[in-house]
């Protein structure tokens, strides 16, 4: 075990490992790129859905249960399926990562919207705001902390799952895990895992910090 850890440390710190087109820096960049793109696209799809359901109250059952569906969906299966359907491209990776992220964002957005007190919405209406004005000026700002939490959860899950890009022979930090597996090189697998976990935790902390700074005046 100690042996393994020192090998891991050596692997992570050797300068050769970081540089070049196969280097950690490059893999990290790819990983961030896959994750970022997937999360953004998922947010663009999921936010309007969550806001609509939260604002109108229509489709609440869907909003509550879709996160369960998202959790139940086996990512490996989805990747394989899309791969078989579309051939060798990044499509299977993006499709499954986006499918993973959408439910989390929808459910949290919805949760943020329904947590707003009816009195507050009544007050907005009572002052003569239209539905859209109330949504934009009152409801979204109030739901924002929970919406941000949803984005954060989605980002972390996407980052730790983006290793599947390597499964269909693309890059990202998953490369080390799959290559290490193929070469029976445990140090490399461990190195990949540590890098992915490190990236996920870092992003999580950054987003938590952003959340705190943005909403520090809130009690919640």
């Amino acid at each position: 075990m100690i042996d393994l850890l020192s090998q891991l440390a050596a692997w992570l710190t050797s300068s050769g490992q970081w540089a070049g087109p196969e280097g950690i820096a490059q893999r990290l960049l790819e990983h961030v790129q896959y994750s970022f793109l997937s999360t953004i696209v998922a947010a663009l799809i999921a936010l309007p859905i969550g806001l609509f359901i939260g604002h109108t109250g229509r489709g609440a059952f869907f909003a509550i249960n879709i996160s369960g569906f998202g959790r139940a969906l086996p990512t490996v299966g989805v990747v394989t399926l899309v791969f078989l359907a579309s051939g060798l491209s990044m499509t299977p990776v993006y499709v499954s990562l986006i499918a993973l992220a959408i439910p989390v964002i929808v459910t949290n957005t919805y949760a943020g919207m329904i947590a707003i007190e009816a009195d507050t919405k009544d007050a907005a209406r009572g002052m003569g705001m239209t539905g859209l004005q109330s949504l934009w000026r009152v409801e979204i700002p109030l739901a924002a902390p929970l919406i941000m939490t949803g984005l954060r959860l989605a980002a972390v899950q996407v980052i730790s799952t983006a290793t599947i890009a390597a499964y269909v022979s693309f890059g990202g930090l998953g490369r080390y895990i799959f290559d290490g597996l193929a070469q029976r090189d445990l140090t490399q697998v461990l190195g990949g895992a540590v890098l992915v976990a490190g990236l996920a935790v870092t992003v999580d902390l950054i987003l938590a910090g952003v959340n705190r700074v943005l909403f520090r005046h809130r009690l919640t």
Binding site: A72, P74, V76, G77, A85, V156, F178, G192, V201, D204
Partner: protein
């Protein structure tokens, strides 16, 4: 992409066996997770400084890619089902721990105090008052953990205990979508069934909530 129904009808026995195999990895993982999470959550609930540490640790473990986790466990537990179960148990902890702590937090201080004031000890209060009242939140965690675990078992096919996950490998290698579709649908069905069963269990265990609506 078409489904070959012929394949499905000739493989029902296999699908059934794989589902059972799938569950014999998933169920022990969740139960073990619960067994570990309950005492840890009580500690995290009682001792504030430990809460952040325990929850933070389980959060970090959750970000380790599942495949990597299985591989890392290999040298310790070998190519066994134990490896699959251990890995999955570690993932359940993130949900079970958080929910159990939140469940214990949700018990009104007044109720806890009333129990102590009536002369029930701390252990008695925990077992008879706090845990039962935390049950709905804990069960919500068990539901999430179960669904998540059932979906994650597939990843363990790399170490030979992936249950339904074998269908994905099989379809991938033979460029044959039918088993993959069957696997995805079967996983969803198992997850749904487990979730429904847990909802039923919870409903049966919490008569005070069932009858809670003011008469």
């Amino acid at each position: 992409m078409t489904i070959e129904w012929q394949w499905l009808s000739t493989h029902t026995d296999d699908l059934w066996a794989l589902s059972l195999d799938h569950l014999s990895t998933a169920i022990p993982a969740v139960l073990l997770g619960l067994l570990i999470a309950l005492p840890l959550a009580v500690v995290a609930h009682r001792i504030r400084p430990l809460r952040g540490v325990l929850l933070g640790l389980s959060n970090i473990m959750f970000t380790v890619p599942s495949l990597a986790l299985f591989v890392i466990l290999l040298p310790i537990t070998g190519l066994t089902r134990t490896t699959a179960i251990t890995g999955l148990t570690i993932y359940t902890l993130v949900v079970l721990l958080r929910n159990t702590v939140e469940g214990l937090d949700s018990v009104p201080a007044k109720v806890r105090e009333a129990s102590l004031a009536m002369g029930r000890g701390r252990v008695g209060t925990l077992l008879k008052v706090e845990l039962p009242l935390a049950l709905p939140v804990i069960m919500a965690g068990v539901r999430v953990a179960s669904v998540m675990t059932i979906s994650l078992v597939s990843v363990a096919s790399y170490i030979g205990y992936g249950g339904i996950g074998q269908l994905f490998t099989d379809g991938f290698q033979r460029n044959f979508p039918t088993p993959v579709i069957a696997g995805v649908v079967l996983t969803l069905l198992l997850a749904l069934a487990a979730d429904a069963l847990l909802v039923l269990v919870q409903w049966l265990c919490t008569p005070w909530i069932r009858k809670g609506a003011r008469a």
